[in-house]
Each structure stands twice: as C-alpha cells, then as structure tokens.
Symmetry: C2
Subunit: 239 residues, 2 copies
DNA sequence: CGGCGTTTTGATAGCCATCAACTTCAGTGG
DNA sequence: CCACTGAAGTTGATGGCTATCAAAACGCCG
C-alpha cells in the first residue's frame, strides 16, 4: 500500500467520526474510499472555489481553515461561515450547477474532493450514506437559521459571545481546548460574519477583557469565564 | 377517478412546474403521486409543525402562506422565512429528526404531506428525483445566505426594498402581478424577518410612499417604480 | 357599535458606524 | 541582526440610524 492510497482513505482518516463518514458502517466506508478521488492543497489566501465557477464537487476540510463569503452586485461582502476540519463546503453550488459563494483559505489548507455525481450515485446504493448527506445539508440550513437569529436580534456583545462559544465548542469537538483558541480570521472578517464593523469587534473584545471574561492578545483568545459568555448570549430572560 | 385521488396527484397539480415535480418526466411523476399520501389543512394562526416535534415529512405548500421562525432560549424570536404555494417546508428537521423551527400559517392553508422516508426511498430509484431534492435543499441554503447578506450589510430601506422585490418576483412566477401584492404578514413579522422593529418597517413604507415609489394601504402594496426599488437594493456602487 | 389588534407618527435616546490617529505585529531585505 | 514597511488591531471623538417609548388613528370582527 503506497502512501498515496493511505492518504485518501476515509476509513483510515482521523476525522472520520466528524466528517462525511460519520456513523457509516465499515462496508459503506470502503465505498466512500472509492469516491474520494483526490486531495487538494490551498495556500493561505487562495480560493477553493469562487462564485460563478462550475460546481462539480463538495469538499471536506482536512486541515486548515476556510471562510465562505458572498458579494452582492454593488460590492458588499458578507462572510457566511467559517469552516474547520471535518466540515463540508460547497453545497451552495448544487442548485444552479455553479457556486454561489467564494471559499477562501484563511491558512494553508487541504481538502478532500468529493465529486458530487459520485456521491449521488453511491447515495442511491447505500441509504445510510444518502441519509447522511441529507443530514449534512439540513445541518447547514439549521446553522444558517441560527446566524439569522444572531444577525436579526442580537447586539454586538451578544454576537461576539455567541461567535466565541460556537468556535470553541467546535474546536473542542475536535480535541482542542475548551477555553483557549487562536483566531484564524481578522477582525474585519469576524465583523463581516457578525454584521458589525471591525472597530466594534475590537472594542467588544476589549470590553470583554476589561470585564475579566477573556484574555485577548491579537489572534490568541483565552476564555476565562465561559458562563459569563453564555449569560451574554442568553440573558436571564427578556420579555 | 374520485375527487380524492385527483386532489392528491402531483401529475395533475397546477403547481407542478414550481413545486417538487419540477422538471420530472411523466413516468417519474407517477411515482411521486404514490408518496403524496395526503393533504393537511392548517387554519390561520395554527402551526404546521413546531420546534422539537418529531420530523417525519416535508411539506409542499399547496395554498396559503406560511412563516417559519425560531425562538432562542431567552425568548427572542426570528422569522427565518415566508413560504408561498409551490415551496417546500421542513428541511430543518432532517438533521436531528426533529424540527428546529415553527411553521405557522399566516392564512388558511393547505399542504401536501411528503413522508421523508418515502422521498428517500424513491430518490434511490430515480436519480432525477434525487438530484431535484438536493437542488431544493441547496436552494434553501443559498436563500439563507442571501438573507445573511441582507441582515449583515443592508440598512432599513435597502432591506425592505429587497423584501418587496423578492415577494413580487416569487408571486409573479406564480402568475400574479409584478407590481401589486397583498402582504400576508404583519409589520412586526416583516420586521422580525428583516431584523428591524415594526415601527421602522412602517416608517420605511411611509418614506417609500412619500418618494412615490410605492402605494401602501395597510396590507395592500402597489409598486409604482420597480427600478427605484432595485436602485435601493443595489446602489450604483459603493466602494 | 364597541373593543382590540394593527398601523402610523412623533419625540428621544442609545448603539454602533464612521473618521481619524496611533500602536502592534509580521514579513522582508539590507 | 535590525531597520523598514504595510497590514492588522486598538482607541478616541462624533454623528447617524434605528430602537424605544408614547399616543393616536385605523380597520377588523363579533
């Protein structure tokens, strides 16, 4: 078994409990291995795909960090999500056979290419995979609705608190610290995602630090009081 | 052929070009007819499903108007979408086998019940249907990202203009006027969807009327200058 | 016709954007 | 090794947009 074939096997991937293979049986996993045709490396700042490009595949983030963003006709930019290892990108492209957003690597990254026609083909054979694909798309829909709630109803402090909690929670699920993280994105990108200006992001970080809730030094963040953040996101009761 | 069987057939439905059957071949359509087990009537103000309820089916809106909304732990409410005839609701429920939001009828409505296990089953047999289901979910993801752009970057006037244009465009695709519409939702529901307060919605309507862009009388809206609305959504260029 | 939910409109306040200056950091080349 | 340079981040002052509070007008339904 040469190195190449090891590299592209879901069955041996340390992300298999988080990524596409999650919950599949060994036999089904082997079939998945067949469709993971290859990997792609993306340098920091480069795009995995851009809006308008032909859609051919989904991508599973193997390592590194991405942002997805859409640009409106008049040049407004909105970050619609940050993706880390084990997460799937590209489902926006299915409707119109072309991508609706840009996916840009925030650091050197590697993705598994999942040709979508192969996914559909295999989904027809294995209902477990089929259902799993549906769940992944549904999860994305629910996630987006959560962002709508954030953008529609929350104030700056609440948004940033929710953002930090969401990030550490996802990192923790991948074996990282519950209370410590390194931001892979700029204040401006955080702001674009949360619907606020970069200055407001910076100020809000500073306020959290004054309040003793977190320590921030540039991209490094230490969460000192998780419950305080949770209280910010979910105030005792507003009525 | 009794009335009942006429009623529940996709193949004879006047919405078939917009709804789930869109683009399917006659043969595939017949199979779809089998899984459309029944209809459900929902009275104005009643819920089609609520957050936390077990997920069993998607629903195709046959007539009437719905809103979907999520409620956060502390009671904040966010309308995540308005659905009209020919549109599919319920995909939020797939991930966790229970619905993540409430779907509430804004007027007396009727939906076709699409048991999801039957959809998956039939999807395995007919790749056209399979791909179509994927497109519908992808469309929802892209729509949600558009709402994020709206909530994250637009100001009140731009949001309401985008909202009105989106509504008439969808109504026009269903054979209604391009310039006239009756809102099925309150100012408060519009505001919740657009991330603004009902007073701001009302004021913005008034401003549009002063500017001669629209006529508003309660729920009735006449769009007098579509291009003016489009200019509001897409300013000449911001840079 | 009365009652109530919905909508409109006004006055005021507050949050965040904007503009601006300065600091810190990372990467580069002398 | 260190100075240089530009990007990223911080902080301050100010203004504007929208929320909030309040009251009145309107329309719907029993």
């Amino acid at each position: 078994m040469d190195i190449q074939s090891i590299k592209v096997a879901c069955s041996g991937c340390n992300l298999r409990e988080l990524c596409l293979p999650m919950g599949l049986k060994p036999q089904e996993l082997e079939h998945l291995d067949q469709i993971i045709s290859n990997r792609r490396r993306i340098k920091r700042g480069a795009s995995l795909f851009s809006a308008g490009e032909a859609f051919t595949a989904l991508y599973a983030v193997r390592s590194g960090f991405f942002k997805t963003c859409i640009t409106s006709a008049d040049g407004r930019d909105q970050v619609t999500g940050f993706q880390m290892m084990g997460e799937i990108i590209g489902m926006d492209g299915i409707v119109h056979d072309q991508h609706a957003c840009d996916a840009i690597a925030l650091e050197d990254a590697e993705v598994c290419v999942l040709p979508f026609d192969r996914i559909e083909q295999l989904s027809r054979e294995f209902s477990a995979l089929q259902h799993h694909v549906h769940k992944i798309m549904s999860r994305e829909i629910v996630r987006d609705q959560g962002v709508m709630l954030l953008l529609g109803t929350m104030r700056a402090e609440e948004r940033l608190a929710a953002f930090l909690l969401n990030l550490v929670q996802r990192l923790h699920a991948r074996g990282f610290s519950q209370s410590e993280l390194v931001l892979r994105m700029t204040r401006e990108e955080i702001g674009s995602y949360l619907g606020m200006k970069l200055e407001t992001v910076s100020r809000t970080f500073s306020r959290f630090m004054e309040d003793g809730i977190i320590d921030v030094r540039q991209r490094y963040v230490l969460i000192k009081d998780t419950q305080a953040l949770e209280r910010l996101v979910n105030p005792p009761m507003r009525n």
